[in-house]
């Protein structure tokens, strides 16, 4: 579905991504984990066309999308929930969601998508007319996720969706992701909660200093003691 081949990115001559190759199959959840500054967000940005590739190629269903302008990539169905909840602060919650619909190029007033998002995050229905910038941090994160879903993605790129969400909400979001995935949505998930990510995903890769250092079935990675040591922290050891 989504294949990334030998992708490299540099900022002002400094390499952030060095020849990354991975592929996300149709209908799977693929988790990408790694320490801060590893290049996870950079990879998603490259896929979305926000930052240019220095080398390599990215394809969506066999078609090359690297080099295309970002809005076209989004309209092709590759939609990203960016890191750090980039809601359009001056627009209301409802308007933000409406904008999300844009990517799908849907006109008319079908409310099925909206109902689905409202069901997942009831607070967004309640705060329909509030400027998004005045939501709490977690509420903004919900809006960012909801907005992406409004665009009826075929591939959803999630950059740390659990960021700032209460545990109970995280669970709901991940349950929803699994449900959507069962209905055919392909997901590339960047997540710092490595345990949760590996539990949810089918396959996973670990990125360190711009390179993929491990790749494989999520369950296998979760069981790898080195990975556990690096990414689960002492909490696991304590428990």
């Amino acid at each position: 579905m989504l294949t990334i081949q030998n992708a490299s990115v540099s900022y002002n001559g400094i390499r952030a991504l060095r020849g990354v190759t991975l592929s996300v199959a149709q209908g799977e959840i693929f988790a990408l984990i790694g320490p801060n500054g590893a290049g996870k967000s950079t990879l998603l940005h490259a896929a979305s066309g926000i930052v240019p590739l220095a080398e390599g190629e990215i394809r969506l269903e066999g078609e090359t999308i690297s080099g295309r302008p970002a809005h076209k990539v989004a309209r092709a169905g590759l939609i990203q929930v960016p890191e750090g909840r980039r809601v359009i602060a001056p627009l209301t919650v409802a308007e933000n969601l409406e904008l999300g619909r844009q990517a799908a190029g849907i006109r008319g007033t079908s409310s099925a998508d909206l109902d689905q998002v409202h069901a997942l995050f009831p607070i967004l229905a309640e705060r329909r007319d509030q400027p998004a910038g005045l939501l709490s941090g977690g509420q903004q994160q919900m809006l960012a996720i909801g907005r992406a879903l409004m665009g009826r993605p075929r591939v959803l790129l999630l950059d740390e969706p659990s960021l700032g969400l209460a545990p109970v909400i995280i669970r709901e979001v991940f349950d929803a992701l699994v449900r959507l995935n069962r209905d055919g949505l392909t997901i590339l998930l960047v997540e710092q909660n490595a345990k949760l990510a590996l539990e949810t995903a089918h396959n996973a890769a670990i990125l360190e200093q711009g390179r993929i250092v491990h790749k494989g079935a999520a369950a296998a990675l979760a069981g790898d003691p080195v990975v556990a040591d690096h990414y689960f922290g002492r909490a696991k050891a304590d428990a």
């Binding site: 320490p35 801060n36 709490s136 700032g164 109970v168 909660n193 990414y231 922290g233 002492r234 909490a235």
Partner: protein, 251 residues
């Protein structure tokens, strides 16, 4: 060393009571947790304490001083430091400069000395830079000192937020989701730093959704929902509280 005391503070936006009669204590040397569902009012509490928002009712005490009406700079000078949930750094400035900015409240050289470029002002700057480097070292970011803050990854930017707050050498430290965007291993390396800071007598109020982190770090936890306290106690007490489980943790 000063304790932070909130006495029945309230604040609403339009008709919405975002904080509704919250009282809590963050004594010196202790890491106090503040948790609660999204939109519970945690960040609003921080904004009220730091004077960015006007209090609608109740009292805020820092040590024995009533700071309810104080404006933000006054509170900062009184030793209240914070990090921002939505990262706010000077993106174009270097990491070092962002950290040095935190020392502002410790400047002794007066306006005139600064304007005239007296040596006292100069030495002060040196001293701040030395201390900032020590902080960078502690957070493992020495190599990034001269990078523009805006070009760093999310996790590194969070660390700069914390270093800047620590540079204020505060008596009260408010951390709004400091380890968001970090994996557990990374979070725990920061936990050690927070414990150190608390041990020196700083009152820390920690807001965080990473429950394992909160549980392992905090001695006392307050739980907020819909602007009201619904529970408080030791981590285990709180984690076992059915209201907390229902509203926040989920089953």
């Amino acid at each position: 060393m000063k304790a932070l005391t909130l006495d029945n503070i309230a604040r609403s936006f339009g008709g919405l009571p975002a904080v509704d009669g919250v009282s809590l204590q963050a004594p010196p040397g202790r890491i106090t947790g503040l948790i609660g569902p999204n939109g519970a009012g945690k960040t609003t509490v921080v904004n009220l304490i730091t004077g960015l928002l006007k209090v609608g009712g109740g009292r805020i005490l820092v040590g024995d001083d009533d700071m309810t009406e104080a404006d933000a700079p006054t509170l900062a000078r009184a030793g209240v430091a914070r990090t921002f949930q939505n990262i706010r750094l000077i993106g174009d400035a270097t990491v070092l400069d962002n950290v040095v900015a935190g020392f502002h409240r410790h400047e002794k050289a007066g306006t005139l000395a600064n304007m005239l470029g007296l040596p006292s002002a100069h030495h002060e700057r040196r001293e701040f830079e030395r201390k900032a480097h020590a902080l960078l070292d502690r957070f493992g970011m020495t190599a990034l000192a001269r990078h523009p803050a805006g070009s760093l990854s999310y996790g590194h930017q969070r660390r700069i937020e914390m270093m800047r707050a620590l540079a204020m050498e505060p008596s009260v430290l408010l951390l709004d989701e400091p380890v968001a965007g970090m994996n557990d291993a990374e979070a725990y390396s920061l936990a050690d730093i927070f414990r150190d800071v608390a041990r020196q007598g700083v009152a820390i109020l920690l807001i965080e959704h990473n429950m394992r982190f909160v549980m392992s770090l905090c001695e006392h936890i307050y739980v907020l929902a819909f602007g009201r306290l619904i529970a408080e106690g030791t981590p285990d007490e709180v984690a076992g509280n059915p209201r907390v489980i229902e509203a926040y943790l989920g089953s």
